[in-house]
Subunit: 281 residues, 2 copies
């Protein structure tokens, strides 16, 4: 396609972060340093990497991060106690529980225990409901990143047909509801969907959030579709077969350098938003 | 169509109510009478009728109803106080705030004030989020009624393409998420949707929740579609043009006598569920 746009997540991310710098400075003048608490349970190496990346991203903006590392044997009760303590701690503005947790833990109960005011990662059912009903403060970060990219490039959503592939609580479901709130007609697909290529072929906007490497094929696309790849698979490979989809799309996110970096920026933004809320009070 | 099913909401409703009779009896033996508190604000005659109908439906099953009627001039604060008192009242198992409330009231704030344990009408963002994430106890009553009808007639949902027309917090959004959880591929449409007839034509299951009398036309339907009319318009007219849709559908709800009566039964069921929860505690 002519005039094709490669949606540059690194650039969008940089702009979001730049906008946070004066806000963090102002907070510090008021005696408040935004602080994100990250909880890692167990020894999964990728999870350790993600948590470290998030902590480093905080540090570069002058945001404190408090890294809590619990053992592989942690019980649900112990994790809940940790979360409750962080809920009470007025120095902490955001709480991130790194997914996944070891199998003996009730992960949903742990997510739900995060106080709505500190749910900067957008994982609680309450936060999801508020976002869907149009008054949520901290939507799930990957959906928020997708909307941020859409807005940064001034892509039209209203009246468009968006097809979301995936229905997870932190990605497929919230991004479906957020696009619906922006007046898209939204189709949510998943592993039980029949004739997926036929449905994708109708999409003006495609959000891939299925967790299958290079799954979405170019011949599934309508000419000129906008392709947003939120997939993350081993080896830093997206859900979209970039080579075949690139020629058909009017705008597309690469992997890496697409949705991923913006997701972390949204987490930082929400943490700063939350810190500002405490100053207002 | 041959073997066409007229989905009889009165029959489904009766079966739900019959199943509640022994449960109410058992609760009474345990010293607990299920109790639904209904709050009506102002003097809208249709709202008065709805609240009276709900109260009467309770009475016929031996469920207490406590009817609270506040004046047209009620403030948000006064309404919130009423709701908080009902939240605290252990004799009350469910709270229903009749929509709409007078314009000076923040209706959303009032809905959100209902404790999740008593949100038997399924109006809170928390209840919606929990339902969407698969562990809600009291989904919004009209979506619950639609699923009840689907189950009563053993209609297949998995892998089907469901098109929901409407995106309200108590109907379009929750029924979309509930059908998604049943493994339907779900498209949610609304006033900004382009080519609505073309999208409806793909549907195996259509949920009409748009609030426009006789809006959905027979020539929009795929042969053999299942049509669920959750519309309620003045004069007891549905959103579906029944005359033209009847010949095309494999199963269809009439109005009246379709989704409406089951909705009230779901409210009663949720109230009994809630009363049973208090006995368990």
């Amino acid at each position: 396609m002519e005039n094709q746009i490669i949606l540059d997540g690194n650039l969008v991310s940089k702009n979001v972060k730049d906008s946070l710098i004066p806000r963090v400075e102002k907070l510090k003048e008021q005696g408040v340093t935004p602080c994100l608490a990250t909880i890692l349970v167990g020894d999964d190496p990728s999870s350790e990497t993600y948590v470290r990346m998030k902590g480093n991203a905080c540090a570069r903006l002058g945001i404190d991060s408090r890294r809590i590392h619990l053992s592989e044997e942690t019980t649900t009760e112990e994790l809940l106690k940790t979360i409750h303590d962080l809920n009470e701690d007025t120095a902490v503005h955001g709480i991130l529980l790194q997914h996944p947790v070891p199998s003996q833990i009730d992960e949903r109960a742990a997510f739900e225990a995060i106080h709505i005011d500190k749910d900067v990662d957008g994982v609680t059912s309450l936060g999801f409901g508020q976002t869907t009903f149009g008054f949520g403060r901290y939507p799930s970060c990957t959906p928020a990143a997708i909307l941020e990219i859409i807005d940064a490039y001034d892509l039209e959503v209203e009246g468009k047909h968006a097809v979301v592939i995936g229905r997870s609580p932190i990605l497929g479901k919230p991004v479906s509801m957020m696009l619906l709130n922006r007046n898209a007609t939204v189709t949510t697909c998943h592993s039980k969907t029949q004739n997926l290529p036929e449905i994708v072929r109708q999409a003006d906007i495609i959000v891939a959030a299925v967790g299958k490497p290079n799954f979405i094929q170019g011949d599934w696309l309508k000419e000129g579709a906008v392709v947003l790849d939120a997939g993350y698979n081993k080896g830093n490979i997206g859900d979209v077969d970039y080579e075949s989809c690139l020629p058909k799309s009017s705008a597309i996110t690469p992997v890496p350098g697409g949705v991923g970096p913006v997701t972390i920026s949204m987490l930082l933004k929400h943490t700063v938003d939350s810190a500002e809320e405490t100053v207002k009070k």
